[in-house]
């Protein structure tokens, strides 16, 4: 097996060396365009290296402890062909009918071959196989949206990534069942994983996509994922990210959305657990009348760290973006929100909203929030806001004065706070499940399950919530 450890020298130096030493493995199925992109990404990484705290977008997220660790890096899948994924992992969302596409340690798991072509023309498969079969598609889209000049992690991913998931929805096709992408990290050592997903939505097409990141071990692995999503004219994407990782893990996750004319995006990142989670949400309006809801919820405790960076690029007129991120931070947890809306010259009639709200449950919990508007057009509607608060004492008194005990009153208020984001989930079964998980999380019961809860193979008991939240 081709692998190497990253010990003994800095991770940057090691990666530079690995790139040279493993060129044939990395470049395997590349065409010239792709190789070119790798080389320029590597040049960019060579220059920037890993991010550090002096960079504005990394000021509040310290990754020095993460890049100091030794990792194992693999240039071949870490498992044998024909692996039975169900033995280690099962999706456990009742009534959720999805087409599940899995990656184990960043490598595509092919149950029915590396490339599946549906009757309606939808293609789902491994990026590795697509590089071979559809070099033109790759040339057109790969690395086009994942801008790497400013983000060392994205550059490194663009240079190294060998596999990931590829989805193509042809023009005019509305995919009925949601597609679920699961990346499971399961290894007996600390590994460094870099996968790269590419999703292409044709004109007038629509897709629901659920992207899950889970770990089912207790290793201190580092995952650096880049996902590029292209929405052609009038395409519609309903996108979810669910993150439930162990307390030691680090997940660096960047999603780049490119919206052509009349495209509609809704994306919702729900962070339930994880050691260090960094989400970069990058939305670019390239055509008029685009619409994007960019939402997130992070519930962190202990020493967990959740960082959401949003960059919305209004390059054209008449687009609408709406950001809503909410967080509840307990113990010594830290949160970061950085929302950057750029309205370029000429992007008139832009409607951009930003909102970040936080509840800090202890004196030690920290949130750094920075909603930020950069506007170069004069006929726009933009708003931003951020709030940081403790539990509302007046509301607590009101609930308790009706006989509700302190614990349930707190829970009721925290749940109500989180529900604003959960209510945006349009897939009913997913909403019910996330709802249950959030309640469990708020009751402090999620950490009991060391494994992932969203899809763990140990069957959990149905959630019993003292407060019956169901509507009568």
């Amino acid at each position: 097996m081709m692998k190497t450890t990253t010990e003994m020298s800095s991770l940057k130096d090691t990666m530079l060396r690995l790139y040279e030493e493993h060129r044939s493995a990395i470049f395997g199925n590349d065409n010239d365009v792709m190789t070119g992109r790798r080389e320029s990404a590597m040049a960019s990484f060579r220059k920037t290296g890993f991010p550090h705290k002096k960079l504005e977008n990394w000021r509040n997220t310290d990754i020095s402890g993460i890049i100091d660790l030794p990792y194992h890096y693999y240039f071949r899948p870490t498992f044998k062909k024909g692996i039975d994924l169900k033995r280690i992992f099962q999706c456990n969302i009742p009534n959720l009918q999805t087409d599940m596409v899995s990656q184990l340690n960043g490598w595509y798991i092919s149950e029915n071959g590396p490339l599946k072509k549906e009757r309606n023309g939808v293609i789902v498969g491994s990026l590795e196989a697509v590089r071979r079969e559809f070099p033109d598609l790759i040339a057109k889209h790969y690395g086009r949206y994942a801008r790497d000049e400013k983000n060392g992690f994205v550059a490194l991913n663009n240079a190294f990534a060998q596999d990931g998931v590829f989805i193509l929805v042809p023009d005019n096709v509305k995919v009925t069942a949601p597609i679920q992408l699961v990346n499971i990290i399961h290894h007996d050592r600390n590994i460094f994983v870099q996968n790269h997903n590419l999703i292409i939505l044709g004109k007038n097409s629509s897709l629901q996509l659920v992207q899950c990141d889970d770990s089912i071990d207790q290793q201190r692995s580092l995952v650096n994922t880049v996902t590029e999503i292209f929405l052609d004219e009038n395409a519609s994407l309903d996108h979810y990210k669910l993150q439930n990782k162990n307390d030691q893990s680090a997940l660096i996750n960047a999603v780049f959305f490119h919206l052509e004319k009349d495209a509609t995006l809704s994306t919702n990142a729900i962070t339930l657990n994880g050691g260090l989670i960094r989400n970069d949400h990058d939305v670019k309006f390239a055509g008029e009348n685009g619409k994007a809801d960019i939402m997130g919820l992070y519930l962190v405790d202990k020493t967990q760290h959740a960082d959401n960076q949003v960059f919305v690029d209004h390059t054209v007129p008449n687009c609408h973006s709406n950001e809503l991120f909410k967080g509840i931070l307990d113990d010594s947890a830290r949160g970061v929100f950085n929302g950057h809306v750029l309205v370029r010259p000429g992007a008139q009639k832009t409607d951009a909203r930003q909102n970040n709200k936080n509840i800090l449950l202890t004196d030690k919990a920290v949130i750094n929030t920075k909603p930020f508007l950069e506007i170069y057009a004069d006929d726009v509607k933009c708003s931003h806001g951020a709030s940081i608060g403790q539990m509302d004492e007046e509301a607590m008194f009101y609930l308790r004065a009706r006989g509700i005990g302190v614990d349930n009153a707190r829970l009721l208020l925290m749940y109500a706070f989180a529900a604003e984001v959960i209510n945006y989930i349009k897939i009913e079964a997913l909403k019910t499940r996330v709802d249950d998980m959030v309640k469990k999380r708020l009751r402090g019961e999620l950490s009991i399950c060391d494994q992932c809860v969203l899809h763990c193979s140990t069957m959990e008991k149905p959630v019993q919530f003292d407060i019956d939240m169901s509507k009568i």
């Binding site: 009101y398 308790r400 004065a401 006989g403 009721l412 749940y415 009568i472």
Partner: protein
């Protein structure tokens, strides 16, 4: 005796607001507490309900159904039958009135060793309470008090009172901000809930409310003390003469 307050002294940030207050209330009675602004009416209501933070009881005691009320947490007081109708009801986005009430009723029932209320019984109870204060169904599906008008908020307080069936209800300026129609509805609700087993304390500035909720006793609170008590005719006297004659009487 349901409630006995003896020589109560309460401070807010070092300033004495209630200065030796005595009051006795029996089941079946309606007491009105009147008085000018800033004399301690709301402080008294909040101290009985158990609001923490700014209120500091420096002397005296409150005995409720034989228990030392001041030692009981807010929610236990509520479960034992104390209800505060808020002067300024709090908005709680994201919590529907239905969930709020169901949670409250079930916690109270659990405290009393009773089973959870069935969905059917809860619905019936809610329909009845809604009718009582003439609130529309769409209101109960909304978040608690969020975006409610002043009148809706006050009706919602009486709705909650009907749902929770308290033994001792304290209505803190429930009439403020109500037009005459809403006032009649609220008063009618309170009168319907009035029984020989429960007691009600009505706190108000104005005689107007007492035309509709007729009290058994009227007390005038001034400078942190009850300076005059009487029957319902005292309220009329106040309406006519104002508070000044009592202020003079109250001077030592």
């Amino acid at each position: 005796m349901m409630l006995t307050i003896k020589n109560l002294h309460v401070e807010i940030e070092g300033k004495e607001i209630i200065r030796g207050l005595d009051l006795e209330i029996k089941a079946g009675e309606v007491h009105a507490i009147m008085g000018p602004n800033g004399t301690g009416k709301s402080t008294l209501a909040n101290v009985i309900a158990g609001k923490e933070g700014i209120y500091k009881v420096t002397e005296g005691e409150i005995i409720y159904k034989g228990m030392n009320l001041l030692e009981m947490p807010v929610e236990v007081r509520a479960r034992e039958g104390i209800f505060l109708g808020f002067q300024y009801p709090v908005e709680i986005p994201g919590v529907s009135i239905t969930n709020f009430m169901r949670t409250a009723i079930n916690e109270i029932r659990q405290y009393k060793g009773l089973e959870q209320i069935s969905a059917g019984d809860f619905l019936k109870k809610m329909e009845k309470a809604k009718k009582l204060v003439e609130i529309q169904s769409k209101l109960t599906n909304r978040s608690v008090n969020e975006g409610f008008s002043g009148g809706e908020k006050k009706k919602n307080e009486i709705f909650q009172m009907a749902m929770l069936e308290p033994e001792l209800a304290i209505l803190d300026e429930t009439d403020s901000g109500l037009d005459i129609d809403a006032l009649k509805i609220v008063a009618n609700g309170v009168n319907t809930l009035r029984s020989k087993d429960n007691a009600i304390i009505v706190i108000t500035h104005y005689q107007r409310l007492l035309d509709y909720i007729v009290p058994d006793f009227v007390h005038v609170l001034f400078n942190g003390r009850i300076v005059k008590s009487g029957g319902k005719e005292l309220a009329l006297q106040l309406e006519e003469k104002g508070y000044d004659w009592l202020k003079e009487e109250a001077q030592p």
